[in-house]
């Protein structure tokens, strides 16, 4: 039996094609996936992200606990509401999950984790808590729903849909959240566009979804969510990273604090195995579609695509690839697709931001 979010019946009523996404019955598209993609890049769209899990950490000494638990440095979070993207590593340096942590108060941090890893994450956090910080409380919040509103007009439309929220959320910088009434509103997302992720009581999710729809925010499925995050250069857990992938080879070095003397879980293992590969972007020059697990042939050795698809913004196929360290941006490499070798250009990530392609062909 698939798990359902509080918006399940609304998706069906809106004509969504539903799929099994890691055990959740989720909308993959409502109509054209490409149109949904453009809608977010050009105007505003909304995503049901209720399958992701909010975890509140409360008590005394959270900061010390998270300094050890997370690979990024929570000491970067000094202003209330500020958020940080981080990996949570196992002692071998593999990625248990990637997450966002919000600093609200010294006795309250909020973490949002992926759906597919949620149970594993909570069990790991709970084990660490019991061992190192038994005074803390780790509380999964399945009583909260989450809707992401993304696009150049997303904030404006969210303010219309949630009257009175503008004053509290207009001053927010990217990666910062504020509470307003029963809402927790963060200026975060997974698309490379401006917008909010709104957490709210489950009972109110359907009403907010319908109000946003009335304000001109289109529902967007997981299909477009994937092409949007790919263009934005954002990793997907289980595809671009995981427990068996060195995060330094997955484009995550910027999130792993290798400067401060602070010890964190996985640090020693990563220091003992420096990266032998690097994550870069590919743009396919020939006709076809790049996909995960395709082999990349270069003069410096072989690599592999981790995620690939068709980019509606670039109107050509793009991918993330794990490549030998000596491959450089601007190189032409070859991708093996059904026994043919097709040419692709190596590019810097991301491919697109704020509606614009960043690739010059």
């Amino acid at each position: 039996m698939l798990k359902q979010t509080p918006l399940n019946s609304v998706h069906r009523a809106m004509g969504a094609r539903m799929v099994d996404f890691g055990g959740w019955d989720m909308p993959v598209n409502y109509g054209s996936q490409i149109e949904e993609h453009h809608q977010v890049r050009r105007d505003a769209g909304m995503f049901d992200v209720c399958h992701m899990l909010v975890v509140d950490v409360t008590g005394t000494g959270i900061r010390d606990f998270l300094r050890h638990l997370l690979a990024n440095n929570v000491d970067k979070l000094q202003i209330p509401g500020k958020a940080l993207y981080s990996c949570m590593l196992n002692p071998a340096g593999g990625v248990i999950d990637d997450l966002i942590v919000y600093f609200m108060r010294e006795d309250w941090f909020r973490i949002v984790v992926n759906a597919g890893t949620a149970e594993k994450d909570v069990a790991w956090m709970e084990g660490q808590r019991a061992a190192t910080a038994p005074q803390l409380c780790i509380q999964p919040r399945r009583d909260l729903a989450m809707i992401a509103v993304q696009g150049p007009n997303a904030r404006e439309k969210a303010w219309q849909a949630i009257p009175g929220s503008r004053a509290a959320t207009e001053p927010l910088k990217p990666f910062q959240a504020a509470e307003f009434a029963q809402y927790f509103i963060g200026r975060t997302g997974y698309t490379g566009e401006d917008g909010f992720e709104v957490m709210l009581p489950v009972a109110e999710a359907e009403a907010l979804w319908k109000t946003l729809h009335g304000c001109g925010v289109a529902p967007i499925g997981l299909g477009a969510r994937d092409t949007l995050r790919l263009e934005a250069g954002m990793n997907l857990y289980g595809q671009d990273m995981g427990e068996d992938v060195n995060p330094l080879e997955a484009g995550l070095a910027w999130t792993i604090d290798q400067k401060s003397p602070r010890d964190f879980i996985g640090k020693a293992a990563l220091q003992a195995k420096p990266a032998a590969m690097q994550m870069l972007g590919l743009v396919l020059l020939d006709k076809g579609v790049l996909r995960g697990h395709q082999k990349v042939v270069t003069p410096h050795g072989v690599g592999e695509i981790t995620s690939g698809s068709f980019s509606p913004t670039l109107n050509q196929s793009i991918a993330f690839a794990r490549l030998p360290l000596t491959v450089a941006v601007g190189d032409t490499v070859q991708v093996e697709i059904r026994d043919k070798l097709l040419n692709a250009k190596v590019v810097k990530l991301p491919f697109a931001r704020n509606g614009q392609s960043l690739i010059n062909n």
Binding site: R17, V28, N29, S32, Q33, I34, G223, T227, K287, G288, V289, R291, S309, F310, P312, S317, R338
Partner: protein
């Protein structure tokens, strides 16, 4: 659901149409394009290639996924639709107008072994549950 009565169908979601000149035109069904979503790439077999019935002979790719296309019956490829290679979205717009390739069947009687519209409709219905 759109399943024209004058076409034949396969379990792998191709349609086949017997033309007046005895050739057979092949494409993928409306249901198939609906499952795959926005089409972005089509690869057709080479003209002149001899196909066995059920042989993998073409590829369609949507944003979401790649899908093989199988020969509905044995025969020689005598034409391919370049327009659908240039504009794969034509399959989404009208899957029965956006044909992929034409075959000269090895044995025209093979066509009778394919599904009719009612049988294909039942197949699609059963897959939905």
């Amino acid at each position: 659901m759109s399943i024209p009565g004058d076409l034949k169908y396969t379990k792998s979601h191709e349609w086949a149409k017997l033309e007046a000149d005895g050739t057979v035109t092949v494409g993928i069904t409306h249901h198939a394009q609906e499952l795959l979503g926005d089409m972005v790439y089509v690869e057709n077999p080479a003209v002149g290639r001899q196909l066995a019935a059920g042989e993998e002979c073409a590829v369609v790719e949507s944003v979401k996924a790649a899908s093989d296309v199988y020969a509905p019956l044995a025969g020689e490829v005598i034409a391919v639709n370049e327009a659908v290679v240039d504009s794969p979205e034509a399959i989404n717009q009208d899957a029965y107008a956006a044909w992929m390739f034409k075959l000269k069947p090895a044995n025209p009687a093979d066509l009778a072994g394919l599904l009719d519209a009612a049988a294909y409709g039942a197949l699609v219905e059963s897959e939905a549950h």
